[in-house]
Structures are given as structure tokens and as C-alpha cells.
């Protein structure tokens, strides 16, 4: 299961600035070991021992990614997630220590993009972070639907919703939407296959790079969040299969 991958995500001396991860975790041993692991693989880390400190550090340092524990003193991971999402669409990865799945659901509803269960293998954690930080790419549909005649072909329009696949901008009735990277990638999967039923497993594979052993609630809850932003009628649930984007 562990994919041994010793290649650093970003070279410390490479041209692009290292990815800055804010780590919020109350257990000191976990916090320190995770920070060491991430730094070993070329990430820059800041660490906070509780939710309030985490929020402050997030506002001060503008990290590229948040790695949050669910159970935190003062302000828990779910609360912190909510507060961060008020102003930022930075990717959030939750760490759940409980076998109980309720906090996972709570975290995903609050706006986390993915979660890992403690204890997490370092390669798995690195792979998740890489997935969240991956540049979003768009593959145009074979039969583009709803193409507006006025643009150069990069803007797809669907009943009030317009997706610019080049600038990666999404507008509802002309208003620009703030989407998290995972929400955007999920939406791009949908608009590239309008009218086609996409199975949850397919979406998990394409958007989150997951296999069969994964939790498809990640898809369900991200779809929920996406619907809240773009309007409920664009994405239809097909019971027992997955979702369909209406043309």
C-alpha cells in the first residue's frame, strides 16, 4: 500500500518557492515529526498547537496549504475550517484521529478538501498534499456543449453558469465565484462531460487520485459544497451510481 516515493515535491534550491504548509496539531510529538517529514521533502512548515493560534498564523503567513487535526483545543479543526473558508480557498487537508466518521463529514462540510486518518504513512500524506497542490488542468470535451459563440472557445456556459477553462474562472450570473482547487477540479470534470453519468469511483480517481479503498463521501460532500456555490440544479444525483452534470 505505501507508495515509496523519495523524490522531493519541490527542490529546496529549485526555482519555485517551496510550498508553505501550516500544520495545526495539538500533540507535540506528532507536530514535530510531521514538520520534520514535510521539511525533509522540501516543504516549508509553520506549526500551531491549537485552533486559535492556527487561525492567527494563517492570517499572518498566508500558507499554501493547511494540514489540520480535527480535535484541537480552543477552536477545533471544523471551526477553524469554517473560519478559514470565510476568506480563503487554500487547500485544507484534515487529519482525523477518530474511527468515528462524523468528524470527517463535519470537516468536509466545513470546506476541507480531503482527509487522512491518523496514523498516516508519510508517503501517503505527501501524495495527498501533492494531489491538493497539483495544477488544475482542463481536458476539453470531445463534443463541447453550450459553447458561447462570442468567445475563443475557452468559456463554457450552462444556464447562468460560465466556466472559463483557460483562466479557470467560474461565474454565476456574471459574479465571480471563489472555489477551492478540489471544487474547481470536480467542476471541470463535470463540465467536460455534460449529460454523462460520472461514477463516484471515477471522480475519486480523476480528482483525488484514489483507488477502491477510498471513502466516496469525499465526493458527495464536495458536490454538496459545489452545489451551494453554483446552484443546486446543475448537478443531478443518480442513485447508486454517481452524478450527472445537466447541459
Amino acid at each position: 500500500m505505501p507508495r515509496h516515493d523519495s523524490k522531493p515535491a519541490e527542490q529546496p534550491d529549485g526555482a519555485p518557492a517551496p510550498v508553505h504548509v501550516l500544520l495545526v496539531e495539538d500533540d507535540e510529538a506528532i507536530r514535530r515529526s510531521l514538520a520534520m517529514a514535510l521539511e525533509r521533502y522540501g516543504y516549508r512548515t509553520s506549526a500551531a498547537p491549537d485552533g486559535l493560534t492556527g487561525l492567527e498564523m494563517f492570517r499572518d503567513k498566508h500558507p499554501d496549504l493547511l494540514l489540520l487535526d480535527v480535535m484541537l483545543p480552543h477552536l477545533d479543526g471544523i471551526g477553524l475550517c469554517h473560519r478559514v473558508r470565510e476568506t480563503s480557498q487554500a487547500p485544507i487537508l484534515m487529519m482525523s484521529a477518530r474511527g468515528d466518521s462524523l468528524d470527517v463529514v463535519g470537516g468536509l462540510e466545513a470546506g476541507a478538501d480531503d482527509y487522512v486518518v491518523k496514523p498516516v504513512d508519510t508517503p501517503v500524506l505527501l501524495a495527498r498534499i501533492r494531489t491538493l497542490m497539483r495544477r488544475t488542468a482542463f481536458t476539453p470535451p470531445s463534443a463541447p456543449a453550450g459553447r458561447s459563440p462570442h468567445d475563443d472557445g475557452s468559456v463554457l456556459a450552462f444556464r447562468g453558469l460560465s466556466v472559463d477553462t483557460r483562466c479557470l474562472e467560474v461565474r454565476v450570473d456574471g459574479r465571480l465565484l471563489a472555489l477551492t482547487p478540489m471544487e474547481l477540479r470536480l467542476l471541470l470534470e463535470f463540465v467536460s462531460a455534460p449529460g454523462i453519468v460520472l461514477e463516484r469511483q471515477t471522480l475519486l480517481r480523476r480528482v483525488w487520485d484514489y483507488g477502491w479503498d477510498s471513502d466516496s463521501r469525499v465526493v458527495d460532500l464536495t458536490v454538496q459544497r459545489l452545489r451551494r456555490k453554483i446552484g443546486a440544479d446543475h448537478i443531478e444525483t443518480i442513485r447508486g451510481f454517481g452524478y450527472k452534470f445537466r447541459r
Binding site: M1, D27, P119, T122, E199
Partner: protein, 444 residues
Amino acid sequence: MRRPTAPGTGAAPSARTAVHRAPPGRALRRLVDPRSLRWKITAAVAAAACAMALGIGVLVHHSTEVRSMSIGRAGALRELQAAQAEFRGHPSAGRNPAEPGYVTGDEIPDQLRDLLGSRSGPVTWYDTRKPAQGASMWAAARVDGTVMAVQTDMTTDLFSRQALDRHMKYAAIATLAVVVPLTLLAAEPVLRRLRRVAATARRIRHGELDARTASRHGDEIGEISSAVDHMADALRERLRAEQRFTADVAHELRTPLTALVTSASLLAEGEAAHLVRDRVQALRVLVDDLLEISRLDVGTEQAEVRRVPLGELVTESAQRTGLETRVLVTGRPVVHTDPRRLDRIVTNLVLNAHRHGRPPVEVTVDATSIVVRDHGSGFPADLLAHGPRRFHTGAAERGRGHGLGLTIAIGQARVIGARLTLANTTPDGAVAVLSLPPGGSQEL
């Protein structure tokens, strides 16, 4: 740490955990079963009724006889008085002197003569020497030195007393004929309550820890019912406490383990680092398995059903174990099931086959079943008889692993409504057959 008494993923393989229901015809068999309490109660009531009838019968018989005798005796003595007058020469009116109302000499029965002895009398004797012909009362006295006797007929009285005895017998039999079925009927509610206690105890045994008799009677059956209920309460509490303990232990281990897993991955390569990483991984699997089992034990796990291409899932699960496994898929089966749980089952079965059996490990997939087969020495007899037990790996060669894998596989199979059957094949090897619920499958 824990005994395999928990019901959820419990010890027994699926075939043994089926709840025993009364087969048709069982009620009839129960009715005619001579060992049933119903017949014992009925026999006791019938015996009591018989004893009572006998007592009353004897009493009535005796007092009627006493009364008959005193009436008979009085009649005979009156006759004797009249006969004495006649003997002395005062024949009574209307009587023919040639046919006297008395007898003398040899006509007097010996018993009467012995009874009189040398006394002057009078004495009486009830004569039943020929009961079929009737009975009579004799009275005798000595008149002027001569023994004389009279005989009065009591046949009618004898026959009527015999008739009375007969009627009492009939009445007793008729009473029994009513009492026996009535007792059988009256015993039924009591027996039903007892059977309910037994049925509840059986349900608890099969894992329904919430089964209760809920009896509100104050009698002894009520007492045993509430004793069973309280026992079930205590049992459930104990079990829950144990389940909570397992879950808590696993949770508590997770925090230090998380730091350990990450730190171990940072160690510089080397033999020691390799050993540490390997053991940390083993510890991690153990903690994960314990948590999974404690969740399955609570019994609140729910399947998230999706449309799943069975062949692809099984192939991927087998590959992910990193162990060489042959997967054979017939057709392109698609099922509606929970892919994560199915993955857990397949992974555990394949790992188990590699750990405890010998290669080649083959997995065969068709429309509704997944068969995992190895070529080792097969499952131990104890495991086949009692199902997998936590931390019991059985025979010495099953050294690796901790016996949780099969427990998890069976528990997860129960959640997705599938049945896991374990068996040994000839000449060698263990076979685990996962039968998915029918109706969930379709060919693509």
C-alpha cells in the same frame, strides 16, 4: 485482553449464527411430546381428581351401607317379634298357620346359629352367600329353648347400592374426561410464558443483546423472566464495557503511534531502521484492525452501496497486497455493494491465504461470489468448528498474524449482507467463499 464472546463479529461462522426458528410441525410435536410439562401437570391434576373421587366414593359407599344395614336390621327384628308371637300360638292376622313366617331347626343357617350361640337373642345376620341372587337379613332368637329365625329380603337394597357405586364410577370418569382437556388448556398460558423465557435466552445467545422477556407477572415464571432480563442487562453492560475498552485502547494508541509512524519514516536507511519501520507498520495494522473490530462489534456499521465492477475491484485489492495472487474473473460481473468493505474482505482473505496457506493463491470471481483458495494445510479444525477467534491463530504454523483478519472479513461480510463460508478442500488447501447477496448483481 478480550474473549471471543462478542456477538457482532462473533466467533461463529455465518452458517452457525442463523437464528433458530421453530420449523413447521414443531408445535404439534411439542404438543405430543411426553416429556412436556403439560402432561406432567395434567397427570398430577388427574391423579388428584381420581383420589378425591375415590375418597368420596368410599365414604358414600360406606355410609349408605351402614344405613341400609340398620334399616334392614330393624325390619328383621320387627319380623322376628311377629314370628315370636306366632310361634307362641298367636298367629297374626291373615297368615296361613301351615306356612309360618319363621324357620326352625336345620333351615337356620349355621352362621346365624353360631352368632346366637347360647344366648337368647335376638341377633341379626346379613346373608350374602349368593350375591348374584340377592341378599337378605336374618334375625334369630331362642324362644322357649327353640331357636327360631326370620329372613327378610334385601335384594332391592343391595342392587340399588350397587347401582349407586356404578354411578359414582361413571361420574368420576366423566369428571376426568372434562378435567384432563381443561388442564391441558389451562397449562398452555403458563407454558407459553416459559417457552418465551427460553426463546429469549436463545435470542440473547445468538447475539440479540436487546432481547427481553418483559414479563410483568409476580409468580415464579415472572421471577425467572426478570432474572433472565437482568442477566441480559448485565451481560450487555459487560460486553459494551469490553467493546468500549477495546475501542478506547486502540484510540489511545493512535496518538503516540502517529508520531512513531512519521518519525520512523525519517530514520536513515539501515537494518535497524528497517526493523523499526517494519514493527511500527505491524503495530499500526494491529491498532487499525482493533478499531475496525470494535466498530463492527457495536453493530452500527452501515454499508454504502455503490455500483461496483466486481472483477476490477477484486483484481485491484489483490494487487495492492503486493503478494502474487492469480485472479480469475468470469464474465464482467457488476454488483451493488460497499466497495470499501468488499475491499477489506478481499484484502484480508488474500493476506490470510498467503500467511497461513501455501501458494499459489487463487481468487475466482463470478457473478455473485468470490472464492479465495490456497494450497496449504487448510484451516485448523477448531477454526472451522467455532469460527475465528481474536488473537487465536490456532496451530503452530499459523504463527504470523493475530487472527483478526478473518474476524474482520466475517464482520464486514455481515455488514454488506454477504455470507463468508470457510472450508478445506481435498487434497490440500483452504477455501473461503464469499457469497454476495442475490439481486445485487448484473452482467455488464
